[in-house]
């Protein structure tokens, strides 16, 4: 039996601010627990060394404004790079599965990046998905986001990508940041039904979450047949988390991972640094490595403490049925959208960056292509934290881009080069694996 890969990167020298939940102390007690347990010494575990992600690896997903070097801290590059180390370890067959216990987290980071939102700059899982596709030739990937907060960044990045199944269960957006992730958010016109949201009522317990897992998540994973399953492993559904209101336990998390059997798990949020994280992280490692976790419990664990209410179970059951149907009818819906005869679908939106407190205005045009999921043109503007205003134009080719979309997308970039109405113009060419950025003020183009 191959070992489970573990990359523990607690970033003991990085914090958003000294008292912020995302501070040096966050994984300190997890360190104490996993080191004291000696779990890294077991033959079932293999520990890995982190690395920095490159600007190119980041650019496969993000449009960092103005560029990766300016936008992204080194801590974020190490965090994203660590996920890639785990991807390589898994794909090279060194490990049976892998868990990146890393910070800073990433699942609120979106395609265009003007700053930090929800403690995230860079979407670690998304960077890993495009890396797995480019370097290891994978196509279909499923991401199950088990963080208590809706993984709105990951959702946005893969909103138009039918080859990435994104499932997020989280505390109802009416009661918690980021205030999204409702059942009617099902994906873009050509990727409808491969985004599945499961908003849960506050105080939902192990029982409720496991019902969702058994009756919705596992069946649709089975039907989707992904090449690889990622757990975007937030730990803030825990009953002691200070930022949320759920009633999940460390045992619950361990069982979840035992059933889900993710190929790669990547830590996201979780801010109960003493009472939850040390035990949940142990639980996930043990479950992934096939080690009996029945002796694992929080100091105040009481199995009789949380009981699912009949009302909530009722709600969960109807939610599961509704989303199963949405998933299963996705093919017809996509065909209908495609045959509308429209050339482009336009979406206008405003994105709020809570950590950095800034607003981004965005317009997205998706080509409703007959042969692929369509290329995207995004124009975006925001006044960043340092007071500078940026207006940028981005063109993105999907990983499975058809020749006609590729040609049009590249032409859009070329055409825009002659119109200096934006500060920066970007081309994300995933087919050529080439990433261009034109600074219209200096006329300088960089190619990664």
């Amino acid at each position: 039996m191959k070992p489970t890969g573990v990359l523990f990167f607690p970033a003991f020298d990085w914090a958003i601010s000294p008292t912020h939940p995302e501070r040096e102390e966050r994984l300190l007690y997890t360190r104490d627990q996993i080191f004291e347990e000696g779990i890294m010494d077991l033959p079932q575990i293999r520990e890995y060394h982190p690395r920095l992600a490159t600007a190119k690896e980041i650019s496969r997903v993000h449009f960092c404004v103005p560029d990766v070097e300016t936008r992204v801290t080194q801590a974020h590059l190490v965090s994203a790079g660590s996920a890639l180390v785990m991807a390589d370890a898994f794909m090279n067959g060194e490990v049976q599965n892998a868990f990146a216990i890393i910070r800073p987290p990433g699942h609120h980071a979106m395609t265009v990046c003007h700053g930090n939102r929800g403690f995230c700059d860079i979407n670690n899982e998304a960077v890993m998905v495009e890396y797995l596709r480019q370097k290891h030739g994978l196509k279909r990937i499923a991401i199950v986001d088990t963080d208590v907060h809706h993984g709105d960044g990951t959702q946005e990045i893969f909103w138009h990508d039918p080859d990435v199944l994104f499932i997020s269960f989280h505390q109802d957006g009416r009661t918690l940041y980021p205030g999204s992730g409702f059942t009617d958010e099902l994906g873009g016109p050509l990727a409808y039904g491969t985004t599945i949201n499961i908003p849960m009522a506050p105080r939902t317990t192990d029982e409720g979450i496991h019902y969702i897992l058994d009756n919705l998540v596992l069946p649709i994973l089975e039907e989707f047949k992904p090449d690889l399953v990622i757990n975007s492993a937030g730990q803030d559904n825990h009953y002691s988390d200070p930022l949320a209101n759920m009633s999940f336990t460390a045992q619950g998390y361990a069982v979840l991972n035992q059933k889900l059997r993710p190929d790669i798990a990547v830590l996201e949020g979780g801010y109960s640094v003493e009472t939850a994280l040390p035990y949940i992280n142990m639980g996930i490692i043990m479950a992934m490595a096939g080690i009996d976790f029945s002796n694992l419990r929080e100091p105040d664990y009481n199995p009789a403490r949380f009981k699912e209410s009949p009302n909530n179970m009722q709600y969960i059951k109807s939610l599961v049925n509704k989303q199963l149907e949405n998933f299963r009818t996705r093919g017809e819906r996509v065909e209908k959208n495609r045959s509308q005869g429209k050339e482009f679908e336009t979406i206008m939106k405003n994105v709020f960056y809570d950590t950095d407190y800034l607003h981004e205005e965005q317009r997205l045009d998706l080509r409703l292509c007959k042969d692929c999921c369509g290329f995207r043109r995004i124009s975006s503007s925001a006044t960043q934290k340092n007071g500078r205003y940026y207006s940028v134009f981005c063109v993105s080719l999907p990983a499975a881009c058809c020749p006609s979309c590729a040609e049009q997308a590249r032409k859009s970039y070329q055409d825009m080069k002659d119109k200096p109405i934006y500060n920066y113009i970007y081309l994300q060419d995933r087919i050529k694996d080439e990433f261009r950025c034109l600074d219209t003020t200096t006329g300088e183009e960089t190619i990664l």
Binding site: F9, E24, H49, D292, P299
Partner: protein, 558 residues
């Protein structure tokens, strides 16, 4: 005058050292059944040549290593207090293990009390089995050893003839299984080591009254015989440490080197990073278990100068066994040394004997002697190179927990190969050429281990963990504990506390004169934030008297 003696598995080496030269060196075959006899014979021969009184004698011995490796230690019961976490089946340390209730967390808070009835029951069972040695280890006992002490007190009261070791007194580092193993091995070898210590102490007193007697540790430093009585496990793997420190003593340069100690049957490889020996990041591995014994990172491969060259099923075999010395030195069959001697025309010993032996093997394989020697040499160089490269990458790929560690990723650039051991002169020059660096051989290379033992100074590492929210600190080694009352306690205060304990513990261990040599190797501080306010601070500070040499040592004449 100084004496260093390294009792190794095959040979015992000793040197008498004075000023900057070796006055006398002795190499003798080790009598495995009576280490003490070999040791005293070597000591007597060295003392016979000492014109002046010997000030200091340092011994490195495989006594504890052997006792543990062959399972000759005394039957020892292990009482574990693991609390929540890994399944109990993960702790396969002692066949006589009892699991007790009780739990402490990472902040030293009591989660569950031990059940005294259960402790009584376990002790009654241990007593009924006639077991007299007990090791007690609790998870997070390094943060609070209340439960370990509680169990020890019960044993001391009820069973005064049982000898008890508690894990927190042996090591205060995180890693419960390693702490439990180290405690268990300590309890297991304590009596045997103390018997040996008694006898050696008496023998030395008779022979060299007034000289200090020190024992070499796996970390390349010495401890007094008295200090060793409580921690026999520290003496394991002191032989390879002696060689590595011998290499440092002979070269005295701040370069990145690989030390290759080529003995008769094995080769030990260690790294010097800017002249400092590299430690095994996970502690010494003893009988398949990682421990908290601080030891150098040594890769040992079953290949030496005396590895026999033979043929099996028409295939060339190199070792791993040793029959005798090389044919050129009168051995019965050709060895690795013979092959190097012939190929490189080194003319070692009786060159004719080398050729004759190798010719016979070449005949069996239907090849030429030159071709055969080339194959042997290539194979040996390849094995050594592979091991060296493996050690580099292991070091480079050690986990990193801070952003700056990843940004400033370390990489190993080799400057030099240092050859140690009797077979080094034949093999090292070619190995260095293969690695494209220079090499270093010294006329004392064959007894570098004993030179190292004679010259190294004491070492001591003290770690302090301070929790200002709970108002306590703990100190390792020794499992000391105290209160923090000072408001606004800072990192500087934690460092002063560590320095104070280094001086105190050092004094107790007969390390006068070294207290001001402490270097900080660990400085961590974390704010404990509850709500949006600071509720306290956590500090981890480590200070050590690192491996080095006694002040009077100023180099060895070439």
């Amino acid at each position: 005058m100084l004496i260093g003696i390294d009792v190794g598995g095959t040979f015992t080496d000793g040197v008498l050292f004075s000023g900057s030269s070796v006055l006398r060196s002795v190499k003798q075959i080790t009598d495995e059944t009576n280490l003490q006899k070999t040791l005293l014979e070597v000591l007597d021969e060295l003392l016979a040549h000492a014109a002046k009184p010997v000030r200091r004698i340092v011994l490195s011995t495989t006594l504890v290593t052997n006792a543990l490796a062959t399972g000759q230690g005394e039957r020892t019961a292990l009482l574990l207090i693991p609390g929540s976490g890994l399944p109990y089946s993960a702790y396969r340390i002692s066949p006589d293990t009892w699991i007790l209730k009780g739990g402490i967390d990472f902040r030293g808070r009591e989660i569950e009390r031990p059940d005294k009835k259960e402790v009584d029951q376990a002790l009654a069972e241990i007593d009924a089995l006639g077991i007299k040695r007990v090791a007690v280890a609790g998870k997070f006992s390094n943060r609070n050893d209340l439960h370990e002490r509680m169990v020890r007190d019960i044993i001391n009261n009820r069973y005064p003839d049982m000898q008890v070791c508690i894990s927190n007194e042996i090591s205060g580092r995180l890693n419960f299984p390693r702490r439990a193993v180290t405690c268990y091995y300590t309890a297991m070898t304590l009596s045997e080591w103390n018997r040996f210590a008694d006898e050696i102490e008496k023998a030395v007193k008779d022979r060299a009254p007034g000289s200090e007697l020190h024992i070499l540790k796996a970390d390349g430093g010495t401890m007094t015989l008295e200090a060793s009585r409580k921690q026999p496990c520290e003496t394991v793997f002191s032989g390879p440490a002696a060689s590595t420190m011998g290499a440092v003593a002979l070269t005295r340069e701040k370069a990145n080197s690989v030390v290759v100690d080529i003995g008769g049957t094995t080769t030990d490889i260690s790294l010097l990073i800017e002249g400092e020996p590299l430690y095994a990041s996970r502690g010494a591995l003893i009988r398949g278990h990682l421990t908290h014994v601080n030891s150098f990172a040594i890769d040992s491969i079953p290949l030496g100068g005396d590895s026999t060259i033979w043929v099996e099923n028409q295939e060339l075999k190199i070792g791993p066994m040793r029959r005798d010395v090389a044919a050129c030195f009168g051995g019965v069959s050709p060895t690795v040394t013979d092959a190097f001697s012939v190929l490189l025309e080194l003319g070692l010993g009786d060159a004719q004997a080398s050729r004759a032996g190798l010719q016979e093997v070449a005949g069996q394989l239907g090849t030429e002697i030159g071709e055969l020697c080339q194959r042997i040499v290539n194979n040996v160089i390849q094995q050594l190179t592979r091991s060296i490269v493996y050690m580099f990458t292991q070091w480079e790929n050690e986990p990193a927990y801070k952003v700056w560690e990843v940004i400033n990723k370390k990489s190993f650039v080799l400057h030099r190969v240092i050859g140690i051991g009797a077979a080094a002169p034949a093999i090292i020059p070619l190995l260095a050429r293969e690695l494209d660096v220079g090499h270093f051989l010294h006329r004392y290379s064959p007894v570098a281990n004993a030179v190292g033992a004679a010259l190294v100074r004491p070492t001591l590492a003290v770690e302090v963990h301070v929790d200002t929210q709970n108002g306590v600190y703990t100190v390792s080694p020794g499992g000391l504990r105290g209160e923090v009352t000072q408001r606004n306690f800072q990192l500087q205060d934690a460092k002063e506390l560590a320095s104070k304990y280094l001086a105190e513990i050092g004094k107790k261990r007969g390390m006068k004169g070294y207290a001001d040599q402490g270097q900080f190797y660990l400085e961590e501080q974390f704010n404990v934030i509850r709500g949006w306010d600071r509720a306290g601070r956590l500090f981890d500070v480590g200070i050590q008297i690192a491996p080095g040499f006694i002040p009077e040592y100023e180099g060895v004449t070439e």
